[in-house]
């Protein structure tokens, strides 16, 4: 047995009111792909932040190749050969690729030399990139390449990847895995965080499973089924949403060549989107983030207006109508961004319940609010969707992501919509809560509503949709029945591999 590259012993970190990591120990061998698994809030992020020097552990120690390793800040971690590809928050939209990469290096060369190095390394690993492009104009997959190349330029010994595939098409995932295998064959260790278990089975050599901050198991992913790993993570048996297939009814929502310009500078404009959703049907829309999902949701909710005939609800042309009017007519939407878009962070749950339900639940009479009714509605959502919160008067901000997501989805579902549009309904939500939300969507469709689910989670879409399509740069692919679609077909619908190529050599 060789000496481990990084050995972690008894690492503990507590925040006020919650122990994020409790006495966690594991080893990462040189050239090993090590998975770190766990539900949301299991402490994976805190763990990698400690390894990367962003957070100081309360107790416990880390040793790198036998020597004490306690990075005080990320620069120190980078100097020791630890690099990290972040899930969010780490690129600067207004700067170029080369500038972004220079910011992540301790002693970057002049930008011109750096650009040449970026070209060289990116070709070597099959991740082509133009160093002078502005990052805000890149696709999600390309942005991730920027992050990976930023790490690779420093010849890391340990590469930490936090949910790297959540924004990629299946083909892009395959290319990423080729790159990672090439790195592994060169002796680089990889600490891989994900909750996509099939990917972990395909890629990783060892897995450490965390639950509520504690290490609960270690396993070899190749020899363990995805279901076993999932149950280790959750600590309970998983419930799979069930559904009855029924014949779709009349057309509820129709889009006719919907084209809308994006309001944001780095947004994607919608180009000629046409589809119909019938009563009792779920239409799943896949696509890598930034291909027009937010704009489509906006165009359906009424935040973005279009020509009247482009959006038709139950035979009525509503393209020019605003959100309030569309809600009254029965078209409800739940956007992706929970804090700030779907809910007002500093307002109470009662107030948030009233905000979208004011008309459909008769919360206002003659312009005056009936707080009793609003509170009752909030209580109903909390009870029906098992939202864990001390009460209806807590601020939306105080709920965990999963609980707030259950609240905002529940709020729309309980308003008895004719058509419901949800974007990323289970983003960042743990498996049990995700199952509740999906079941609610299926029940709603069974009750005669038409549902559009926009999501980047293909497993979720396969589970809930009757028909399936993908958004790619603001255009919609062909719509196909969801049953029997293969991952390869879906990948091609999503726009394939965005000119990536498999790593050379």
């Amino acid at each position: 047995m060789t000496e481990p590259l990084l050995s972690i012993r008894g690492l503990t970190k507590a925040y006020p009111g919650v122990v994020a990591n409790d006495d966690v120990s594991f080893d990462i061998q040189p050239g090993e792909v090590h998975a770190l698994l766990g539900e949301n809030g299991a402490g994976k992020s805190t763990m990698v932040k400690m390894i990367y020097g962003l957070v100081k552990p309360d107790s416990g120690e880390m040793r790198m190749r036998g020597a004490a390793y306690a990075p005080a800040e990320p620069q120190a971690a980078r100097a020791s050969g630890v690099a990290m590809v972040f899930q969010h928050f780490s690129l600067f939209d207004a700067l170029t690729v080369a500038e972004n990469i220079a910011l992540g290096m301790a002693n970057p060369p002049a930008l011109r030399d750096l650009a040449a190095r970026i070209r060289e390394v990116s070709e070597q690993y099959g991740l082509p990139l133009d160093p002078w492009r502005v990052v805000g104009d890149l696709s999600a997959g390309e942005r991730q390449r920027v992050e990976i190349i930023r790490c690779l330029l420093q010849n890391p010994k340990l590469l930490i990847m936090d949910e790297p595939t959540s924004v990629l098409t299946p083909q892009e995932v395959e290319i990423l895995f080729e790159t990672l295998r090439k790195l592994k064959s060169e002796g680089t260790s990889i600490l891989y965080i994900s909750h996509k278990l099939e990917e972990i089975r395909a890629l990783c050599d060892e897995a450490t499973i965390l639950r509520l901050g504690k290490k609960v198991a270690t396993c070899t992913p190749r020899d363990t089924t995805a279901r076993e790993m999932a149950e280790l993570m959750v600590g309970a048996e998983l419930h799979t949403p069930s559904r009855d297939y029924n014949e779709p009814g009349a057309v509820r929502l129709a889009l006719n060549g919907l084209s809308v310009a994006s309001p944001g500078q780095f947004g994607t404009s919608l180009k000629g989107i046409t589809f119909e959703v019938r009563a009792g049907e779920v239409l799943g829309l896949a696509g890598v983030a930034g291909n027009g999902q937010d704009e489509l949701l906006g165009a359906l909710s009424g935040e973005l207006r279009s020509a009247a005939g482009m959006v038709v609800l139950d035979g009525a042309e509503i393209g020019t109508k605003g959100p309030g009017e569309r809600r009254r007519m029965g078209l409800l939407t739940a956007p992706e961004e929970r804090l700030g878009h779907a809910a007002a962070p500093d307002m109470s749950l009662t107030e948030n319940a009233a905000l979208t339900a004011v008309d459909r639940r008769q919360i206002a009479t003659n312009g005056f609010l009936n707080w009793g009714r609003a509170r009752d509605f909030a209580k109903e959502i909390i009870a029906r969707f098992d939202v864990r919160t001390p009460g209806t008067e807590n601020a939306a901000r105080s709920l965990s992501g999963g609980n707030l997501q259950k609240f905002v989805i529940g709020r729309e579902v309980l308003q008895d919509p004719q058509v419901l549009v949800v974007n990323q309904p289970t983003w960042g939500v743990d498996a049990a809560a995700a199952a509740t939300i999906r079941q609610a969507i299926l029940d709603l469709a069974a009750g005669g509503a038409a549902v559009v689910v926009i999501s980047q989670d293909l497993d979720e879409l396969m589970e809930v949709s009757d028909r399936f399509a993908a958004l790619n740069e603001g255009r919609l692919s062909d719509i196909r029945p969801a049953k029997g679609l293969t991952v390869d077909e879906i990948g091609l619908m999503m726009g394939g591999a965005h000119d990536m190529e498999v790593a050379h050599g």
């Binding site: 928050f89 780490s90 600067f92 939209d93 910011l103």
Partner: protein, 306 residues
């Protein structure tokens, strides 16, 4: 009306003087905003700089000492803002407005007894051959040193932002402070330095008014120049050379309308007086219609949650 009384050479030479104060203050604020902080206290820091510079110049008899004191005064006041917004995490808009009111009050207090005094004169540049050249000599080589300092500042800020690593980090902090923090940059420290630089520039701009442009001390003598500097930064799309352009436009129209008033043109004085503000803003609004946009983290409170 006698337009021939307006001498174009004198006009250009004096517009450079008229533009300098607002230009120096705006270039400082530009750095602050590129770092993601909105400091609305420019007016307060300018007037504080104006009285600090005036008082010290009168006491020591040296304008240079006055300008140094103005820089320190402006920077010191801005550190109060830095403390409020970066440590106490106070709202930047409210803190900036409070800073303006505080600066106006503080300067009146410090200015007691300095009214009606003349400050020591700041020498003009006088290069034997160059200054005597016709037309260009007067325009390019006949000013006080601060005019050139202002131009040099704009060039330096432009080069700093475009070519230096420190400038890149500053822009990164203003663009996405969470990402900058995740990469291990000291967001708060960088912002405090930017705020202090902005304060120093505002102080310097203020002292230019009280020591050279007017030159005397009266309460509230900056008369809204700080607000114009703030507007300039926004309408210049956070680009240094556009700040220079906007400032010269503002200075130019100011001087021109004074000349027109003196020439007795048949436009009511009130319209002439408001013209510099309107023309500057209209021109810069038209120019800022391109793709450029504010630093993405501008005005947002950074709280390190790690």
């Amino acid at each position: 009306m006698d337009l021939s009384a307006i001498n174009p050479v004198l006009l250009i030479a004096s517009l450079m003087v008229a533009a300098t104060a607002v230009m120096i203050a705006a270039i400082g604020e530009l750095i602050v905003e590129r770092a993601g902080v909105l400091n609305l206290g420019v007016e307060g820091m300018m007037i504080t700089g104006a009285i600090c510079g005036f008082a010290v110049a009168v006491q020591t008899g040296s304008p240079t000492a006055g300008f140094v004191a103005a820089t320190i005064g402006g920077a010191a006041l801005s550190l109060l803002f830095a403390f409020l917004t970066q440590f106490a995490l106070a709202n930047q808009v409210a803190s900036g407005l409070a800073l303006t009111l505080f600066g106006l009050g503080l300067s009146s207090l410090l200015g007691q007894g300095y009214q009606g005094i003349k400050p020591p004169a700041t020498p003009r540049l006088d290069i034997p051959v160059l200054t005597d050249l016709p037309v260009v000599g007067r325009i390019l080589f006949g000013h006080d040193l601060m005019v050139y300092v202002g131009l040099a500042l704009v060039a330096a800020v432009w080069a700093f932002l475009k070519y230096s690593r420190a400038g890149l980090i500053l822009r990164a902090v203003g663009e996405n402070h969470d990402a900058a923090h995740a990469l291990g940059y000291k967001v708060v420290r960088i912002r405090i330095m930017a705020i202090a630089f902005g304060g120093a520039c505002a102080g310097l701009g203020g002292a230019y008014i009280s020591l050279i442009r007017v030159p005397q001390w009266t309460e509230g003598m900056t008369a809204g120049i700080g607000w114009i500097a703030l507007a300039l930064v926004v309408f210049a799309s956070w680009k240094p050379w556009r700040v220079l352009l906007g400032a010269y436009l503002f200075g130019g129209v100011t001087v021109l309308q004074l000349n027109l008033q003196a020439a007795g043109i048949a436009i009511p004085v009130e319209y002439l007086s408001m013209s510099p503000y309107i023309i500057t803003i209209v021109v810069l609004v038209i120019m800022s219609a391109d793709k450029s946009r504010a630093p993405a983290s501008l005005g947002r409170i950074f709280h390190a949650t790690s």
